[in-house]
Each structure stands twice: as structure tokens, then as C-alpha cells.
Amino acid sequence: MQIKNRVYITTSSSVSCAGKNNQILFKNILSGCTGIKQDKEYFLNASPALGKLDVEDTFFNVLLSECQNILDKSQLDNYEETLLVIGSSVGGMQSTEDIYMQTRNYADIDPNMHHIQVISKYLNNTFKFYDDVSFSTACTSSANAIGYAYEVLSKGLYKNVLVVGADSLSQTTVGGFLALGVLSSAPCKPFDENRDGMNVSEAIACLLLETEKKDGSIEVCGVGYSSDAYHMTHPKPKGEGAFLAMKKALEVAKLKSNDIDYINAHGTGTEANDSAEAAAIVSLFPHKPFVSSTKSITGHTLGAAGALEAIISSLVIEQQVLPSNPFLENPSNPDIHLLDKVCKTEIQYVMSNSFAFGGNNCSLIFGRLT
């Protein structure tokens, strides 16, 4: 990968079930205060624990507010020289569902409001962007968006990039994961021997990436991508795909494995995912860096997860404090250093993992400015 410029996260903003801004989100993560609650709204015969946004406005109006918030906090006058990169797995699925459930007919569905591009369409109606592109690789969508932003900025191809990870809950996603039998009815317990599944969740997470550092900037040091080439929903049991993505991220960042202080794991709380990721971490990181998953607090925000966890990773670096695994009781793999309490320590580099259906893997590395 050609690298001409260093790349920085200069501003970020988020809203999730765990907090309506970054500060509340991180406070709740550190105090173990989960945003996950049992819910019967979607299916009467099941009550999975989900992470719903507690907002009084529509999802798309909240999205506009988040992007305005970034603009207000940045040193940009507008987004006219900004590349917009969206990461989403469902796009406008919720509105399609609402219409179809009422009419049982496609006639009233606007195709332009259904697909992933609807997010970009909304934003372009309010802000004028230089250009936009939308990625949809299921649960790695916004991690891949950050990776692409890193690539184009480090190659000197655009001036700045706004990454938006956004996914709302829908019956399709809740019902789909129920059908797979992987939803827990309580906040998830990633890496626990008795883990019983994940929590589907919704969120909007936005990050402005630039090549000039500002006060409080966090560096994006590298990205690694891989594909499992194994199964549509199951990772390779020994985590070979995850291993490859993490290894490539280290190579791009020109770092050694023992440079990584903390891994914000994908850690969904499912049997297959956690054991594969743990095996990959054991193989690549013999020095046992600290590991935790913040999904028991935020839930798995699907296409928004990479962006939300990039914000969490940057807050870890900014505040030099590591989140624990608050619901962990019996670690299933003793060979990884799972945090059982919040830990204040010196943190230089953080890795954030995102894995998805189809064996799509993306690992990102963030660093403290030196």
C-alpha cells in the first residue's frame, strides 16, 4: 500500500443505545452501564435483548444532526471538498418494511429509498459533498469505509473524508439473527464460557479523517483486509481469516505485534465468532495485549460497528483508559488477556477488529500522536 501522508481522526460524533454522544457512550462503557434491553416489539414470540436508540427524532434526522455536529466541531466551512464514505448493511430496509407490511404491495415502495445509497441521498440533500461512495459488506461496512478513507488520504487523492457508519434496527435483521439462533435475551457475554449469543443494535457513528493533525487528533496507522473463503456465516474455526487481516494491518502500519497495547475485539458473544477471534489473537500476539469487547454495552451495531468502535478506540487512546468485559465471568480462552476491570495505563496503539458474513474481515490500527 502506497503511503504518502499520515492520516488522523480529527473529529467524531456518535449516537447509540449506550449514549447520545461520545462522552456519555464512553462513560457508560467504563462504568459497565449497558444500553441493551429485552424487547418484544419486533416478534411477539421472542424477546431478544436489543440496543435501540433512545431519540425523539427520526433516524435520518439524527443522522443529519450528527454530520452537522462534525462540521461544527471541525475547522471546515462546508463539505464541498469532502469525500463522503458510507458504511451500512441495511440502508433503507426499515422504510421498505413499513410500507410493505401495510400494503403488501411493492407499488408504493420507492426503490431509491430502499437501497444503501439512501443514506448518502439524505446527506446530500442538506450538505454538498465533493463525491460519495457507499460500502455494504454486512458487519464490516464502516470498518471498510474507514480503511478506504485511510487509503485515499494516505495516497494523497482527496482532501478529507467523512466516514458515516449507520444502521437502524429492522424486522429483517432482528428476525434474521433469530432464525440463525444467535440472539441472546440478556446483554451479551463475549469470550465467556457460558456466552449464549449476541445483541443486535442500531447506531450512527461519524468520523472526519484529515491529513493535517489537530489538537486531540488520533492517528489511523493502518488497515488490513482479508477474506475467510470458508463459509457464509461461520468463521474459520482457528480464525485464520482474522489472523490475516490483523497481520496485514500491522504490516501496513509498520508495527510489530508487540506494539499493540489493546485490542477492541469484534467479540459478538456468539460461540463461533469469539472462539475463532480468540484463537487468532493467541496466534498473532504472544505478548498478550489487553483485550475487551464493548458490544455488551453497545450491542452489535452491524454496519455501524466499525465506525462506532473506531470512536471507542480513539477515546481509549485519548483518555488512556481501557474498558473491561463487564459481564465476563468464566473466560473461555485463558490465553488471551481479557480485562476484568477498567484499567488506567499507557496506551500507544489500539487494534479494532470487525468481521462479517461472507468471511469479510477488516482490522484497523489507531495510535496516539508522538
Binding site: M101, K121, S136, Y158, G175, A179, Y225, S227
Partner: protein, 215 residues
């Protein structure tokens, strides 16, 4: 404005009013259990990948509407209060087609899926051009598979419900030989397909085919 030139090493395209015929899936995917799980887009991706002799490497894939049939089946199950099929759900994500392709080819490289509405093939070209600066050969692939029951209630424009284009590309400094446009002649396919279809149609066998992509 920055621009990047791509040499098109091989190209292929296919379209059909309802379905693209003769995808040779039985030959290309001999295992019946695997073949049965494939979506239409996956079968088309496998077919076109074979047509351009792509056996592995990075793929930039695009589709405006993704896996419409799986999505519609889930929607019908929910509306009819029936159980959702796990296979439909796993096959409903936008990156399904190239995931199956990667499984068949044991391809562990980066797979990226773009869904940018009418601009999908333009953005596949742009993202592919950016990635090509790393020096490898990439597969750029777009598909639309709109042939679902009652599609006529929402589709009033597209004559060809299935369309797909594959371009095997690498970065070059050679002079462009192909002009980028969305020609009127391609208006019977989904707008998301038109730019890449137009390019594929202009490619000449045994000639150097080069396009310039403006970012």
C-alpha cells in the same frame, strides 16, 4: 481533479430480459450442495469471473439493489408471520455474491462491495482505480438481479432484469483508448450498470484497452 488509468486485461458482460441464460453453473460448481445455496448474483459472478479468467485476487463488486430475491423472501415471511429461512438471511447481505465466489476460489484477498444507487458502476471504477495503485490485478464486477415476483409493480424502466459486467484491470500509464459515457444504447439496463457495460462493449479483443478514471 486526480485521475488514474486502468488497463482492461479482459472483459465480459451478459444480460437477459428475465434471466441471463447459460451460466454453466453445473460445470463451474460441481458440488450440488454448494450450487443449491447460490443466489442468482453468485451464479452470475462465478460465470463472469470464469469468462475473464479471474482465479483469485482483490475484488471490487457493486450492486445497487443487492440480493433482492432473498430480501423479498424474508419480507414475505415476516408479513405472513412465517419462520425466516436462515439461508435467505445469510444470502441477503450485499456481499453474498462475491463471498460465494471467494469460497469457491479459496480466495483470501480483500473483497469490497459497493452499493451507490445509480452511481454504482462509476464508484466501482473509482474505488478499483484507487486500489489498483498498489500494483495488483483486480476484478471489478457489477450485477443486478431484479427478476423477482411482482417486480413489474415497482419497475417501470428496466427491460433487462438481469445484467452483469466484469472487468479484469490493472493500473497503467498508457494513453486512454476508451471514452467513459452512459450511452443511450444501454438505457434498457439498470442505471447502476451502464458505465461499466458501456466500457465492456467498447473493449476490443487483441487491442490494448485503457480507460481514465477521474476521482
Amino acid at each position: 481533479m486526480k485521475s488514474i488509468r486502468l488497463e482492461i486485461i479482459q472483459s465480459a458482460y451478459a444480460f437477459g430480459q428475465k434471466e441471463i441464460e447459460e451460466l454453466h453453473t453445473k460445470t463451474l460448481v460441481p458440488k450440488m450442495m454448494t450450487r443449491r445455496r447460490l443466489t442468482r448474483a453468485a451464479k452470475i459472478a462465478i460465470y463472469l469471473s470464469n469468462e475473464v479468467s479471474f482465479t483469485g485476487g482483490r475484488i471490487v463488486y457493486g450492486s445497487s439493489f443487492g440480493e433482492l430475491e432473498a430480501t423479498a423472501n424474508i419480507l414475505n415471511s415476516i408479513t405472513n408471520k412465517e419462520a425466516i429461512s436462515p439461508t435467505y438471511f445469510q444470502n441477503s447481505v450485499y456481499n453474498t455474491a462475491i463471498s460465494y465466489l471467494s469460497i469457491l476460489q479459496e480466495n483470501e484477498e480483500e473483497l469490497l462491495t459497493i452499493s451507490s444507487g445509480d452511481k454504482t458502476s462509476d464508484n466501482v471504477l473509482k474505488v478499483g482505480a484507487v486500489k489498483s495503485l498498489d500494483g495488483d490485478t483486480l476484478l471489478l464486477l457489477v450485477t443486478e438481479t431484479l427478476n423477482i415476483e411482482d417486480i413489474e409493480k415497482v419497475n417501470t424502466c428496466e427491460v433487462y432484469l438481469e445484467c452483469a459486467v466484469a472487468l479484469k484491470v490493472r493500473q497503467t500509464d498508457k494513453e486512454p483508448t476508451i471514452q467513459l459515457s452512459k450511452s443511450v444504447g444501454d438505457s434498457k439496463v439498470a442505471p447502476s450498470m451502464r458505465t461499466m457495460l458501456n466500457i465492456a462493449k467498447q473493449c476490443k479483443v487483441d487491442k490494448v484497452n485503457v480507460i481514465e478514471i477521474s476521482l
